[in-house]
Structure formats: structure tokens, C-alpha cells
Symmetry: C2
Subunit: 633 residues, 2 copies
């Protein structure tokens, strides 16, 4: 039976035929690798995801983590299958898959690491969240922490013995991080970590994996402010510093010491993603008295007041992770819907209504095919975008020239809000279509697709809401470095356009027996022209928005800008895939490539044209929403 | 505090200022009524909905109906609050609100009845479903049943002592009713109801309110086939007949007799709408032995083989009900989001980022206003469409001339698939935006909006899926009676266009001090022109689709046609509301009317232009989805 998690054929297409992951093995860091080692890692991921993650996906949704009174504070109880799965994940070395050999890692490229992650997320987004948070946390400390901090906290995380969190939001400060009020005061009583020790107090909201008994220890990375000499907190993001707050203090020899003063105040009960604990944490309430007094012991990471910049290492990685999660939840929903549509008989063709004839599998109905093709276009487009971004992370670190590395960094920076947001919007739509294909069955918890829909709805909210990413794309990425990021992307898009024009030749000159090839060539040329025109329109609109002379007007419709640019970006992702598919049609796997071409066709005929109206609205500096008044609602 | 269920101000605007419900009181049937009696009924509905329906909405989602082993079969246990609320609903006479005085009714017009229903559905869609099913069932029997059937089953339903169901689907026949396999065989042992008695057997799926202990009896209306002399069922819809199958047989004097042979086989566990039991029912399994033998006793309604036509009485009513449910779930979500946005401080304006300043209520952020304005446009547009349709039901029965009644019937027939489907699509989108306005809080079950989103997702599936209504609109309604329905709607739309042109005068001729009025007039004229053009485009596209020469091509993209027509219809609904608002701007309630104008502006600037691309695609007889092959997925 075909896997309902992901299409391995498609992963192979993306990694090897399109993104050329094998080229990375020419780089010293990846020289021990080749397609076989990548495939072996994928085999492991697929197997573990299928055997240990997918089977409890529904159960952990039904039996979500419970806060239960412990000896001194609230504990959390989680079904056993979660720890079993996570232990196996760590035991397979996957927590450190991308790390140095000396850290116990496998030195896999990020693009391969994300393909592995895709399997676990598709199988069980809630359980796999514990791994991604831990890896993002560890990567941040690896970059910003001291050698001692790495030894004490990072290595146990890569080994899977400790798990990590990111503690940013507070009840009064969600999207507005400048308003966080947690405070960290230097601790005169110096502890295990010398002068870097602080006492931290405050409340942190929406902390995924904030409390559980899945790992020996929990390493919280916490944003807080160090008061000035007057005892006041510096307003704004400039006053924010980053701290390590371990649940249990760690002794010199790595053994666990006292319980730190951080406790669970309560769990949030979500619509989806129920298996991931989501916590309100209280720091420094005095519930525990580490080293003889209350206040959570905290260790400064790097220099003071650099907290937000440091946390962005984690957030940028997490944002690609969110896009990945959204894409693969869409992907597995699509495969479930496809499987259902092939096996569910219902109704007959409009032109052939004889009720004495047996019913057809519903995939025979054009409207069902529409819903499946839309899903395919969304989820393969979304996953393509995420893996392309992951490939840029590798390129950013391992390209041969500094210019190439910088170009990759710019592309990645530009694409990050899109990579996070586009799948979070359109792959939820794919999940809705997967429900629709199932009819009433899809709306029940007896089937799987309704959970994907609920799970996926989170992704437009966390790691920066849709609106925040709109502001990031239009307000920062489109204009920063004098537009260099924006131009870098435009150049890349036009490279693809030229590649299409250079590859397909002159279709009209082809002999009659190659009529099909000529048609496909004509179509790809038309797609390239449409993409080129769409990007030109984006360029003009961006100029017009910045010429509005009032940032409130420039940014008023930033979310719409994000959506329009997102569709152009994914059209470009599809055109790249289609170009390869067209060249492979005469091979043994023609059906696969025809599917790619048809999905690309769908995207260019049904989706990309939507952008025109959006860009027209943006170009008109529409103030409908800006002018709306509270009293008029 | 403002109600978070619905805006009473808006209901009053729609009923009295726009749809002129008071004009109905000139009709003999409604002559005892006036605005005061309508308002009194609305007061009762709002109060009961607020005090008895809304408070257990979350509880009945958390503690959904349970199947528990009873003495002879599975019973269903439902939280007590549901019965308390429903008993109060019946005691207030609301089950018969629209019925004749002699039936114990109030003879309220349908448009008022739907406004009452709006309150109950907004408060608790799951509990109110029991009332709508009962009323639809009773209305169908009132139309198609014998006097004796009415006396025995209908009167107790309008009194709230019996509840009703509609049993259409079977496990192997959902959308494809022609494939139902339930069979009803004439019973030689004639019972209480003489020659109309049959023995019915089969399995019915997705039966809402199919089993419960909320009422003394349950009246199932069941589609089944009567075998021919050869024992074979006639294939197709022509073989379908309609039957009454009461849970308990009813004696001559109205007392309850034996338990009939219909039992619960299992409950479906839905993503939302959890408080409404949704059942798989087994008929005629022999679990009970009414009149000494197995087989559910069933009474034929009307003539044999008329079942589907009869059931369409119920379905057409239910379809308006689905549209209503979708619209008001969107509406209450919007009001919750608005309330949250006014009270939640977070962040500052882009141009004024001083972190020492206090945070703003999030309604001050343009992107939040965009999301609220979009919700307002969707939900007031959706509710407007539903109440307009309800008003047509009244017009169909009470207009003065046969021509006017026929015109109303045609309009209603044309609009029904749109009235059902448009809110089911766009008011779910409104619910998604309501979550987004709440940020992380909106994704939790501690708040209300995630439940609205889950509850509302059902509406694109039941009472005919989105795809089915696309086929109904393009394949039947657009062409039937030689296009008379289609033309009737076009004439009505153009009447509105002319009305705008006739009312607003020549804005350029207005004096300078009336500049604002001139601007509004210009805008309404532009809207009217856009609406006129959009409908003209729909007319052309419809012709082109029918000229495709192949029904598979004509109907391939029927869902897209439904969506495009839906947006044009709702733009028309908005223009009607805006025209009234523009005329009322100088009154005491200017903010309310400015809100209407701004929402209309939003719809015409942000939404209606989407249709252009959809119609272009349709006009090109696009075969992307038709050409897609199973093997290519």
C-alpha cells in the first residue's frame, strides 16, 4: 500500500531532480554523503514516522495532555506513546541529524533534514513538535551560547535527554514583544555559572512543550528585561535579553540538581495540535527555592540587550518549520483524500445517468478531480517552497563564493515570510478540500482529515501571525538593503523565465508527430510570460506603495501584498518543477510527470490570475480598511 | 452589554427598512400582526436564546451525546440543558410560530420566523437543529400527508412533544439518492393506518436527531423503495417513496403504543455540531417486533414513487436553514471578534512605535479592521441573502397576483443553491478570520470562536454538497423553464441597478457643501455599473457554457460557476442595503449606516472583482480538471 504520509516519489523528485541535493556532497562538510546515505536516512524517517508517530496521532488528539497536581506543583500527564516515539527518534540520532560528527551528529544538509522532518510532521504534528522545538533551541544556543552552556545544555538536547522551549509571549505581549515585562535581576549569590547568573520572574504564555515528563530536563530559552539602575525596564525591544532557565539546575558533572523556580500555571486547550502541551508558565513565583531562595535561576546568553536578535535565529528556523508543518499536513490530507476518492463509489457521469449501471469511484467526477488537483497544486507547491528555502539555508552556509552565499541569504530572508505564510493559508484550504472530498465522513473523527484541518489552522497564528508576516514582507524585506533582497528574488525568478525560453525551443518548428511536445512547450512559454508579467506588476505595485507618502497607507494592505507575492512565488516554484517534468515525459515515469504538468497548469490557470485583482487593489492605494472606524462596526 | 449573538439593530434594518416585513400585514393571513408583534416575538427569541441556548453551547460540544446500552438496544444520553432549552422553545409556541392559529400557531411570516431562528442558531446550532428538523418534517407532512397523519404526527410535533428527522442517505448512497436500497413491502396485516401500512428495512446514515430522549416520540420521514411484483427495486430516483416511521407506534387516541423496529446502530462523532446526535439507524432488523413481527412499520406518504419530490419540500426549506445557520455562525463569530478587538490592547501604529506609549486596542490596527470588515461584509451579506430568500417564501404564498407569486417562486428557486452555499463558504471564512483576530486565544477552547469554525464547516457538506449545488445551479436552475428562473433574477438585479441610477441623481450637480453625499452617490453609481457588468458577464458565460456541446464540459467547472454567481448575488444584496443606508445618513443613526456603506464598499472593491477571473476561466471552457487522469495524481 502507498504511504498516506507523503509521496516518496515526489520527495525524490524534489531533492534529487530539482534541488540537486547531491551537489552538496561536493562540499567538505557533506563529503561522506551521497544519495544512498540520504535515502537511508529517509527510509529510517519514513519507517519510524509510520510505525511510531502516525499510530497515536488520533489518540493524542483524543487524550490530550492533562495538568495533574504533583507533589509541589502541577505536573503534566501525556500518553505513553509519545515518549516511546520520541525516544526512538532520539535513539536513531535524528535530533542531531544536521549536527557535526563531534556533537554526535550526522552532518546531513538542512534540505535533507527537512525532508526527514516532513515525515514526522505528516505523521504526527503534535508529537514531532517536541523535536523541532528542541532542535531550534539547541541550534540557537550553539550559535549564541558559551562553550560551557553548549556542553551543559545543548549536547543533552541533541542526545534527546533534554528538551527545549522558546518563551517569548506573555499574556499582555503576544505579537508585541516590545511590551514583555519579565525581568531578570543579577543574582549576587553567584552559582554554577559564575557572573552570568540572574533571577528571573514573570509569566510566559503559549509555551509549547513548556511542561511534561518526556525528557529528563527542560531547557527554557526566555526573553526578559534587565532593569536599569533605577529599577525600571527599558521600554521596547532594545531592552530584551535572552536567558537559559533550566527546569532542573545542572551540576558541573552534568547530573541534575535542584528544581528551578519555574512552574506550570495552566494548560491551553487548543482546537488542534492537542498533543503538544501548551502552557502558561510562572517564573520566579517562589514555589521552589533554588540555592535557598525564590526566583528562577537564569543564565544570560551572549550579551545583554541582544535577546531579540538571538531569538530570531530560532524564529527564522521555526518559521521554515511552520511552513513545513503546514505543507505536509496539507500533503497527508491530500493523499488521504486521493485514497478515499479512488475507493469510494458514488454516482455517475452527468452524461450517463443510467441508475442500473454500477456507481463510479468518485475520482471519476470532475468536481472531485478539481478538489484533488487543487490540493496537489497547493501541497506540492507548498512543500516545494519549503524545501527550496531549506536548500537556501545549505547554500547560505556552503556555497563556494561569498557572493553566492550572500545571494542565498538574501533570497532566504526575502522568502521566509512567504515560506511561513503561504502554506499556512493554502494548505489549510487543501485540508478543507480533503474534508469535502470525503463528504460527511470527512467531517467525522472516525476519519483523519478533520484533525489535519484543525491541526493546520494553528500555522497562520504562531511564529508571527499572517498580518505580522505581511508587515515583515512589505515593510522590511521589500525595502531593506535598498531593495537588495527584493531584487535578488526578482533576478532568480527571471532566471527561471529565461531558462524556460532557452530550453523549450521553438514549438512551431516541431514536426507534426511531436504535436504534444509542441503544445507543452507553448504552454510553458505562456506560463513563463505570465510569471514575468506578474512579477513586473509586483515591482510596480511595490514602488507605488512606497510612494504613498504615508506608512499607514503603504502598509494598510500588507496582508494582501503577502498573499499576492506568495502566489507569484509558488507559481515560480511550479514552473521550475514543470520544466523538469516536460523534459522527462518520454521516460518510464510519464504519469508522474504529467501530473506535475497538470498541477502546474492548474496553478497558472486557476490560481495565478487571482493575483491580478489583488495587485490592482494594492496599486490603487485602497483605503477601505484604513478608513473604517470603530464606531461604524 | 451588546449581545454577541446578533445585532438587533441590523435585524431591524433588514426586516423593516429593507425587506418591508410590515407590508405583509396587509395580507389576510398576517392581519393581526404589526411591527410590535414581530418585535415581541424577536424579544422572546433573543431572551430564550441568550438565557437557555447559549449557556450550554460549549458544554454540549465538550460533552457530546453518548450511545449507552439500554434495555433492548442502544439509547442516547444527552446533557439535561438541551431538553430544558427545547422544552422552553416549544412552551413559547415557537415550534409552530409560522403555523395556522388552528394548529396552535402564531401565523408569523417566514421572514420573521427565520429571524427568530437566527437567534437560536447563533446561540447554539446543535440544540436548535432539533427544532428545525422537526419543523421541516412537520411542514412536509402538512403538505403531503393525510388529515389523519397530520393529526397523529404533525400536531404533536408543532406542540414540541414529538421531534422529527429526515432519513435520506444510506452508507452506500450519500449524494447519489438514486442508489438507496431501503425497501418497504406492503404489510398484509393491516394496522392502525389501514392500507397505507408497510414493513420497511434498511440502514440510514447521517441521521441528525435520529435517536435521543428529548421528546416523547421521534417521527422519521424515510425514503425507501417499494419492490415491484418481481421483488426487484426500481433503479433510480423514480422508484423512491416517502414513509413515516415513528419510533413508537401511535394509537388512535394519540397515546404511545409499541416500540417500532428502528434502532440506533451507532453515532457519528463529528468535528463540530457535536450536540446534535448524528446516527446510523437500522430499520427492520427485528430487534423489536411491532404487531408481533419484525420489520419497521411504515406509513406511505402520498402516492408511491413521489418520495423525492415530496422530500424536496423538506430539503428546500432545510437548505435555506443551512444558509441561515452558516450566516449566523459567521455573524456571532464576527461579534465575538469585534468585542475582543475593542478590548484587547496590543502593539502600536506603524508610524508611531514609541514603546513608552500604552498599547492600542487591536481594532486600531488596519489589518485587524480589514479582518473585521471582511467578516461584516460576509456575514451581513450572508444573512441578508437568507432573509431575502425567506421573504420570497412569503411572497410566493401571499403576493397579490399569480404573476407576482410565480416571479417570487422563480427567484427563490434560482437563489436556493446560492442561499445554501454562499454563506457555507464565506461565513466559514469569517469564522477563520474571527479566530485570527483573537490570535492564539482564538485557537483555544477557552474562547468561543474555534467552535463556530468547527460547527460551520459542516454546512458545505450537508443538504447537498457544494459540488451538488453547483450542478443544481448551472445544470438545472440556469436553464430550466427555458431560462425563466435565470431571467427572473437578472430582471430583479437590473431593477436594483435602475433604482440606484434613479435615486442618486447627478452627483456632479450637487453644491460643494454636499461633497460627501456627491462622493457616496458617485460610488453607488460605480457599484451599480460594476454589478450590471458582472451580471452581463454571467449571462454571456452561461450561454458559452451551454454552447460547449458536451455536458461534461458544460458542467465541469460548475462549482466555480456557483461561486462566481454567488459573489454577484451578494454584491446585489449589498447594493440594496447601501442604497438605503445612503438615504439615511443624515438621521440619528449615521454610524450604523456608514458601516453599511463601508462594508458595501469593501465588497465591491475587494470581493466582486474576484469574479472577473472566475468568469474568464469559465468562458474559456477550461478543461484542466476534466482532463486530469487518475494515474497522474
Amino acid at each position: 500500500m502507498q504511504s498516506l504520509l507523503l509521496s516518496r516519489r515526489d520527495i525524490a523528485f524534489m531533492l534529487y531532480e530539482w534541488l540537486d541535493a547531491e551537489a552538496l556532497t561536493r562540499h567538505a562538510r557533506f563529503q561522506d554523503h551521497n544519495r544512498e546515505t540520504f535515502d537511508a536516512a529517509l527510509d529510517t524517517a519514513e519507517q519510524l514516522a509510520t510505525e511510531l508517530f502516525a499510530p497515536h496521532n488520533k489518540k493524542s488528539d483524543n487524550e490530550e495532555p492533562q495538568a495533574v497536581p504533583g507533589e509541589h506543583c502541577l505536573d503534566v500527564r501525556i500518553i505513553d506513546e509519545v515518549k516511546t516515539a520520541l525516544d526512538a527518534f532520539s535513539a536513531a540520532g535524528l535530533m542531531a541529524a544536521g549536527q557535526d560528527y563531534e556533537r554526535g551528529g550526522m552532518q546531513l544538509p538542512v534540505v535533507v533534514e527537512k525532508a526527514l522532518a516532513a515525515y514526522f510532521t505528516a505523521a504526527n504534528v503534535a508529537t514531532s513538535a517536541y523535536t523541532f522545538l528542541t532542535m531550534s533551541n539547541a541550534n540557537t544556543l550553539l550559535k549564541c551560547g558559551t562553550a560551557e552552556q553548549v556542553r551543559r545544555y545543548v549536547d543533552p538536547m541533541f542526545a534527546g535527554r533534554y528538551f527545549g522551549t522558546m518563551c517569548l509571549s506573555e499574556p499582555q505581549a503576544g505579537s508585541s514583544l516590545s511590551d514583555i515585562a519579565s525581568r531578570a535581576v543579577p543574582d549576587p549569590q553567584s552559582g554554577v555559572d559564575g557572573e552570568r547568573q540572574f533571577r528571573l520572574s514573570g509569566n510566559k504564555m503559549w509555551i509549547s512543550a513548556g511542561e511534561h515528563d518526556l525528557s529528563d530536563n527542560i531547557v527554557h530559552l526566555v526573553l526578559a528585561k534587565i532593569p536599569g539602575p533605577d529599577g525600571q525596564l527599558i521600554p521596547g525591544v532594545k531592552g530584551i535579553s535572552l536567558f537559559i532557565v533550566p527546569k532542573f539546575l545542572v551540576d558541573e558533572d552534568g547530573s541534575l540538581g535542584e528544581r528551578n523556580d519555574v512552574v506550570l500555571a495552566g494548560l491551553n486547550h487548543k482546537m488542534g495540535n492537542r498533543g503538544t502541551t501548551n502552557c502558561l508558565l510562572n517564573f520566579g513565583e517562589g514555589k521552589f527555592q533554588p540555592q535557598g531562595k525564590g526566583g528562577a535561576i537564569a543564565y544570560l546568553v551572549g550579551n545583554p540587550h541582544q535577546g531579540l536578535a538571538q531569538m530570531f535565529h530560532m524564529m527564522n528556523e521555526a518559521r521554515i518549520g511552520v511552513g513545513l508543518g503546514a505543507a505536509v499536513l496539507g500533503y497527508t490530507g491530500y493523499l488521504h483524500a486521493l485514497d478515499y476518492a479512488r475507493n469510494r463509489p458514488q454516482g455517475r457521469h452527468p452524461a450517463q445517468k443510467d441508475p442500473a449501471q454500477p456507481q463510479l469511484p468518485i475520482i471519476e467526477h470532475t468536481d472531485v478531480r478539481r478538489m484533488l488537483l487543487a490540493q496537489k497544486a497547493y501541497v506540492e507547491g507548498g512543500l516545494g517552497l519549503v524545501l527550496y528555502s531549506a536548500r537556501l539555508v545549505d547554500e547560505q552556509h556552503s556555497a563556494e563564493t561569498p557572493e553566492a552565499r550572500e545571494h542565498a541569504a538574501r533570497l532566504l530572508d526575502f522568502l521566509t515570510p512567504v515560506t511561513k505564510s503561504w502554506p499556512s493559508q493554502w494548505c489549510v484550504e487543501a485540508n478543507s478540500l480533503a474534508i469535502q472530498v470525503h463528504g460527511g465522513y470527512g467531517y467525522t473523527r472516525e476519519y483523519n482529515v478533520e484533525q489535519f484541518y484543525r491541526d493546520n489552522r494553528l500555522n497562520a497564528i504562531h511564529e508571527g501571525t499572517h498580518g505580522i508576516h505581511g508587515l515583515d514582507l512589505l515593510g522590511r524585506k521589500a525595502s531593506m538593503q535598498d531593495g537588495a533582497l527584493f531584487k535578488a528574488f526578482g533576478a532568480e525568478l527571471r532566471k527561471t523565465v529565461r531558462k524556460v525560453r532557452g530550453s523549450v525551443g521553438a514549438p512551431d518548428a516541431l514536426p507534426a508527430e511531436l504535436a504534444e511536445l509542441a503544445n507543452i512547450s507553448r504552454e510553458l512559454l505562456a506560463h513563463a510570460a505570465a510569471l514575468d508579467a506578474a512579477w513586473q506588476a509586483v515591482e510596480l505595485v511595490t514602488q507605488k506603495l512606497y510612494a504613498a507618502g504615508d506608512m499607514n497607507k503603504t502598509l494598510a494592505n500588507a496582508s494582501l501584498y503577502l498573499e499576492a507575492v506568495g502566489h507569484v512565488v509558488v507559481a515560480w516554484i511550479w514552473l521550475q518543477q514543470a520544466l523538469l517534468a516536460a523534459a522527462a515525459l518520454d521516460g518510464s515515469d510519464a504519469d508522474f510527470y504529467r501530473g506535475k504538468l497538470q498541477a502546474c497548469r492548474y496553478f497558472f490557470r486557476w490560481e495565478l490570475p487571482k493575483v491580478e485583482q489583488q495587485l490592482e487593489l494594492l496599486a490603487s492605494i485602497d483605503t477601505t480598511t484604513l478608513d473604517m472606524r470603530d464606531a461604524w462596526f
